[in-house]
């Protein structure tokens, strides 16, 4: 995470960079959560071939953080690619 967050790119400081990564992914992760669990009932799903034994609340909660994490990874990759090679290899 060091080179991704520590230096300025286009003027961004670390806390704003964190907002750029965590905030859009929070919104999109939330939308993904709603769409996904509207269409699929956790109790009908299989996890690597095994039925899920957790409660629906548990699956919804963990699911939300999984969606958020996936979206945050994408945001982080976008942030990373916005910077030129020169910025990264200083």
């Amino acid at each position: 995470m060091g080179p991704l967050l520590s230096t300025d790119c286009g003027g961004g400081v670390t806390s704003q960079r964190l907002i750029w990564i965590l905030w859009p992914s929070f919104i999109v992760g939330g939308i993904a959560e709603v769409l996904f669990f509207t269409a699929f009932d956790p109790l009908d799903m299989m996890f690597f071939g095994y039925p899920i034994t957790w409660s629906r609340e548990a699956v919804y909660t963990v699911g939300f953080f999984v969606f958020w994490a996936i979206c945050a990874t994408s945001s982080a990759a976008t942030c990373f690619l916005q910077r030129s090679s020169g910025d990264i290899n200083r």
Binding site: G12, V13, W23, I27, T38, R56
Partner: protein, 475 residues
């Protein structure tokens, strides 16, 4: 004489740079006036709804309950199922269009009065003011060294903030799990792990956003703030400083003949800047940080009253009104213009269509799932397919149903004893076996129809759901 306020173009550059500055803490000064009153009105109206709604009952259940555990949403007399997601989509479209309409008419009305970020910030600032005092006292307190008094005041403020934030988190979770049960569990400290987690998560978000982040949420995180000017035109009411009247600004004594000195009406007291929750100077023109809260209007009007000048140096006005010196009536009449009429027409069309669809919603839904493994042996005289019919009764009273099949002559249906009773707001999966003579089918898929109809009910509902019956190749 000071130079006139820079135009919007001239300030564009410094504003962009200010984005990346380390945040300077803003200590907004309290203000009173008709817009402050309106903001408080909206704080009460929205929060009475938010904190109060989960406690209302309807049909012996919570009136508004988004029951995620049972995958059903109750809103007064309506029950929504996951299949009804189209209504959620329509609701979002209506919200978006309303936002466009309000923005085109009156700028950031949503931001200034109704957005939760504004409302909770308002509430948290009220607590802050009650405990730490108004602007000057707070600035002094923040600068002062750490004393017992400072620690006491800060601790009291954060304790009050956290209490309100946790109550907000509790209310939020109360929309998803019955709030009276949740209240009992909370008082006995026996909530489930997920309820506990979400109360604290939402509480923490409220505390962080309204206590600490405040205007930064609007400046850096809100997508609407970035594109709202796309909905503005030259007749949109925005909070504006009347440069023609105010400039050249400058301090003067109350009795001075300022016009003889060549001064405008702005006394350059800086109140408009001090009351601003985003810390901008409205005299620099329309800025994207402006959330349209109108605190500067109230602040300036108070000063104008004291000076004995007419009110409205800072007021709701439009670009055209300022340039062409339109009076209030002319400005308001310009609200009726093509952009507004189109937004209004589209909005009402969507609302009417949605309301019509909602009132004519059939309270029964049927899904047919064919069991893939149920093929008859190739040489058997009868073809047999097994289906599961998911029948949902979305109304809140029990209903009885009869299921029949048609599409192939002599089709025989075997199921549990009919009619089948399904309780209110629930569903049943009914296994059904269909049998037909093989010679009446063609190899492969045959079109059949399941008919599900209510029995002995004043409201007769007939639902036909198509399906396929698979016949083996005859060889």
């Amino acid at each position: 004489m000071k130079s006139p306020a820079p135009t919007q173009e001239a300030t564009a550059e410094p504003v962009e740079q200010a984005l990346y500055e380390v945040r300077k803490k803003i200590h907004p000064r309290a203000v009173s006036g008709k817009f402050a009153w309106s903001r408080w009105f909206f704080v009460w109206a929205t929060q009475l709804v938010f904190y109060g709604l989960p406690w209302l009952s309807w049909n012996d259940r919570q009136a508004v309950l988004f029951d995620l555990v049972h995958r059903k949403f109750y809103i007064f007399g309506l029950v929504f199922w996951p299949q009804d997601i189209v209504y959620l989509t329509v609701l979002l479209i209506i919200s978006a269009y309303s936002l466009f309409l309000f923005t085109a008419v009156g700028g950031r009305l949503w931001c200034g009065y109704a957005c939760p970020q504004t409302v909770y910030t308002e509430m948290f600032m009220w607590i802050e003011r009650k405990i730490e005092g108004d602007r000057m006292k707070r600035i002094k307190l923040d600068k002062s060294p750490l004393t017992g008094r400072k620690v006491g005041l800060k601790a009291a403020k954060h304790a009050a903030w956290i209490a309100l934030a946790l109550w907000t988190g509790f209310t939020f979770v109360g929309y998803f799990t019955p709030i009276t049960e949740l209240g009992t569990k909370v008082s006995a400290w026996s909530m489930g792990p997920w309820e506990t987690f979400w109360i604290f998560f939402y509480g923490f978000a409220t505390y962080g956003n309204a206590g600490w982040m405040r205007e930064q949420v609007c400046k850096y995180m809100c997508p609407y703030a970035r594109f709202q000017s796309a909905m503005f035109d030259r007749d949109t009411l925005i909070i504006s400083y009347d440069k023609g009247r105010g400039e050249p600004r400058g301090s003067r004594s109350r009795s001075a003949d300022y016009k003889a000195k060549g001064l405008g009406d702005c006394v350059d007291c800086g109140i408009c800047v001090q009351v601003c929750p985003t810390g901008i100077d409205i005299r620099n023109g329309l800025q994207y940080e402006c959330i349209g809260c109108a605190a500067c209007i109230d602040g300036c009007n108070q000063v104008m009253d004291k000076m004995g000048y007419p009110r409205g140096l800072v007021r709701y006005s439009s670009e055209n009104a300022l340039e062409q010196h339109l009076d209030f009536g002319q400005m308001v009449r310009r609200v009726v213009r093509p952009r507004i009429l189109i937004y209004t027409a589209v909005l009402w069309t969507i609302i009417i269509v949605a309301a019509f669809a909602l009132t004519n919603r059939v309270p029964v839904k049927v899904d047919v799932i064919r069991d893939r493994i149920s093929m008859a042996a190739p040489d058997a005289p009868l073809v047999e397919n097994v289906y599961r019919l998911q029948v949902m009764n979305t109304s809140e009273r029990p209903r009885q149903f009869r299921i029949t099949a048609s599409g192939i002559d002599g089709i025989e249906l075997e199921s549990q004893r009919q009619p089948i009773t399904i309780d209110g707001a629930s569903q049943r999966v009914i296994p059904v076996r269909l049998r037909v003579e093989k010679q009446l089918t063609k190899p492969g898929a045959n079109r059949i129809v399941f008919t599900v109809e209510t029995v002995g009910d004043v409201e007769s509902i007939v639902i036909e759901e198509g399906a396929t019956l698979i016949a083996p190749k005859s060889d």
